[in-house]
């Protein structure tokens, strides 16, 4: 299957993959701190396991970004 991941088309050997599995494939170190959009719609973290991706889906993921002074 092919996915558009963070703007880049990437072929995957899997024919079916969930958001959780994709984050593993992409070596995401802290999936608990990642926001995901599939076809520009947010996917709740509780749905990462159950959300299956389709060929040519657009998947974007980004780490939470925050910090502080102290």
């Amino acid at each position: 299957m092919k996915l558009l991941i963070n703007g880049k088309t990437e072929p995957l050997k899997q024919t079916c993959i969930s958001v959780s599995e994709l984050l593993q494939v992409k070596n995401v170190e802290h999936p608990e701190a990642v926001s995901v959009q599939v076809n520009k719609e947010f996917v709740s973290r509780t749905d990462f396991d159950s959300t299956l991706l389709n060929d040519n889906d657009e998947v974007d993921f980004l780490y939470f970004m925050g910090g502080g002074t102290y």
């Binding site: 963070n6 703007g7 170190e29 802290h30 701190a33 990642v34 926001s35 959009q37 520009k40 947010f42 974007d60 980004l62 780490y63 939470f64 970004m65 925050g66 910090g67 502080g68 002074t69 102290y70």
Partner: protein, 130 residues
């Protein structure tokens, strides 16, 4: 190493001054370690001690950068009253080991860049180009 044009450095510091007393934040986008575009963003914490980016705005900036052929190279934020080095909270919340963390001190006008990997702060060479 990260290369940033002096004009963008000045824009970051101006953003920091304009947002006082709260912290300012945003992304820096480019390619091949060179920043071409700066994206001032909203600090949804609206705090002088904390910042968080709005996830929706993060995705919008990701796509805007992508349409220009750029990647998100760095996240920047300002420290209104403290030096340009990662705080304990910055380190604890640094989940992305690949992105550069650019910190600007509004007080000293110092701007520095770091990688933060598994809780370790690694100073990164920042080249400011005219």
């Amino acid at each position: 190493m990260i290369i940033i044009n002096r004009k963008i450095i000045e824009e970051i510091l101006t953003h920091g001054l304009n947002e006082l007393p709260i912290e300012a934040c945003g992304y820096l986008a480019g390619k091949n370690n060179r920043v071409y575009k700066y994206f001032p963003m909203k600090n949804i914490d609206n705090s002088k001690d904390h910042f968080s980016l709005d996830p929706q705005e993060q995705f919008e900036v990701l796509r805007q950068a992508g349409t220009s052929g750029f990647h998100l190279l760095a996240i920047y934020h300002t420290h209104p009253e403290t030096p340009a080095r990662p705080s304990e909270e910055d380190i604890n919340l640094a989940y992305d080991s690949e992105i550069s963390y650019v910190i600007a001190s509004v007080q000293t006008h110092d701007v520095k860049s770091y990688k933060i990997q598994e809780g370790k702060v690694i100073p990164e060479k920042l080249i400011i180009e005219d």
